[in-house]
């Protein structure tokens, strides 16, 4: 139990494994936002991301007993969803994200700042799209999801120097595109 009275990940896992499957709702509510954001950035489509996350969380529920470190549930869930995203990308003829799915347009009533922000987001999304899946994954895990390199290594199975190199390359590629377009 944390300071807010919410059960810890280890407690939730124990409850679900003890037969309280409704307790899995805590897992969904706790991690859905981050997983959906990660998958959307990887796949470029909210619908495809929703499929990947839903498949991943159902899979996580069914194999919860194999989660060796319930206290690190977050890392385990990201690993499952990362693999679902890779499977989705492998089903496409090329490994990049679709360009035709534009982000939601800002309502002009929201003001010029919101419009500008939406344009910036579209630009950044396009730049992210240009990265290889490996670099995109590394950048999003590091800078969007705020994970440490140790957590990223646990999720991807890659070595920390490899991940650092990918993040560095991703930053350089993104900066190149963003500086050219602004």
């Amino acid at each position: 139990m944390d300071v807010n009275g919410a059960p810890s990940d280890a407690e939730i896992v124990a409850r679900v494994l003890g037969g309280d499957r409704e307790a899995f709702g805590f897992v969904i509510r706790r991690y859905e936002t981050g997983l959906l954001r990660f998958a959307t950035r990887m796949l470029g489509s909210r619908d495809a991301a929703a499929d990947a996350v839903a498949e991943g969380l159902v899979r996580a529920y069914r194999h919860l007993a194999s989660c060796r470190e319930p206290a690190r549930l977050r890392t385990w869930l990201y690993r499952i969803v990362t693999n679902r995203c890779k499977s989705h990308l492998a089903r496409r003829s090329v490994g990049d994200v679709p360009l035709d799915e534009a982000p939601p347009l800002a309502d002009p009533a929201d003001g010029e700042a919101a419009l500008e922000r939406a344009e910036q987001l579209a630009l950044v999304r396009r730049a992210l799209t240009g990265l290889s899946p490996d670099k995109r994954e590394a950048f999003v895990l590091k800078h969007v999801e705020g994970l440490s390199y140790e957590e990223m290594a646990a999720i991807t199975g890659e070595r920390i120097p490899t991940l650092k190199m990918r993040v560095h390359r991703a930053r350089e590629a993104l900066l190149k595109v963003l500086e050219e377009d602004t």
């Binding site: 499957r21 409704e22 899995f24 709702g25 969904i28 509510r29 859905e32 936002t33 959906l36 954001r37 959307t40 950035r41 909210r46 991301a49 929703a50 996350v53 839903a54 969380l57 159902v58 529920y61 069914r62 693999n83 890779k86 499977s87 990308l89 492998a90 089903r91 939601p104 922000r117 910036q120 987001l121 950044v124 999304r125 730049a127 992210l128 950048f139 999003v140 800078h143 969007v144 999801e145 705020g146 390199y149 650092k164 993040v167 560095h168 930053r171 350089e172 590629a173 993104l174 900066l175 190149k176 963003l178 500086e179």
Partner: protein
């Protein structure tokens, strides 16, 4: 490659305080950080909880059904090979090829042998071999120069025997093979090359 000053990476990796970054480098760091902040905004849309919990409440599929589903679904397969194992594998294949696979090849009849034709024609566009084995018909046996070094070769299986032949260069120039086993005069005052095809003993 648009390289970034190493100190920007260090700040973004949390290894260096931002104060340590010169003012002229801060803008580039802020561009990267700003992009990340934009991407970190939650993706709007309905919650997946009801969809996932509906699956959670459904009885798990049987083992056979899961297996069928697994085989029917595409999976990403990643091979990661250490260079040392690649070299070892290549060496093993080479050893196998040398000691075990050298007998592999076309299955020749008792009265068949292999004839190899080699000629040096540096500027040729095409080279064919004609002779008594193909009734002197050009265009049936082409020589190849795969590495473009001007040396054209062809290896063909022929019935055992002695044959006269010539090369036809670029479809019009008939020249004998001076490296042949021997040369003989033909009825037109020219020389034909001679090749003797012997049976291959196994």
């Amino acid at each position: 490659m648009n390289t970034i000053d190493a100190r920007i990476h260090q700040v973004l990796d949390g290894e260096l305080p931002i104060d340590a970054l010169p003012a002229e480098l801060r803008h580039r760091m802020q561009v990267v950080r700003g992009a990340a902040d934009l991407l970190a905004v939650p993706v709007p849309g309905p919650s997946l909880e009801s969809r996932i919990m509906a699956e959670v409440r459904r009885p798990a599929p049987s083992f056979m059904r899961r297996m069928a589903s697994w085989f029917a679904t595409p999976h990403a397969v990643t091979f990661r090979v250490r260079p040392v194992w690649s070299v070892a594998f290549a060496a093993a294949v080479a050893v196998f090829t040398v000691f075990f696979a050298r007998d592999a090849g076309p299955q020749l009849g008792e009265h068949e042998g292999i004839a190899q034709f080699v000629g040096r024609f540096p500027n040729a566009r095409s080279v064919h071999v004609v002779g008594t084995f193909n009734d002197w018909r050009p265009g049936t046996i082409a020589l190849q120069d795969l590495d473009h070094d001007g040396v054209w070769t062809a290896t063909v299986v022929l019935p055992t025997g002695t044959y006269e032949y010539m090369f036809v260069v670029d479809g019009e120039r008939w020249v004998p093979d001076h490296l042949a086993d021997r040369l003989v005069a033909d009825d037109f005052g020219r020389e034909n090359s001679v090749v003797i095809v012997r049976p291959v003993h196994r």
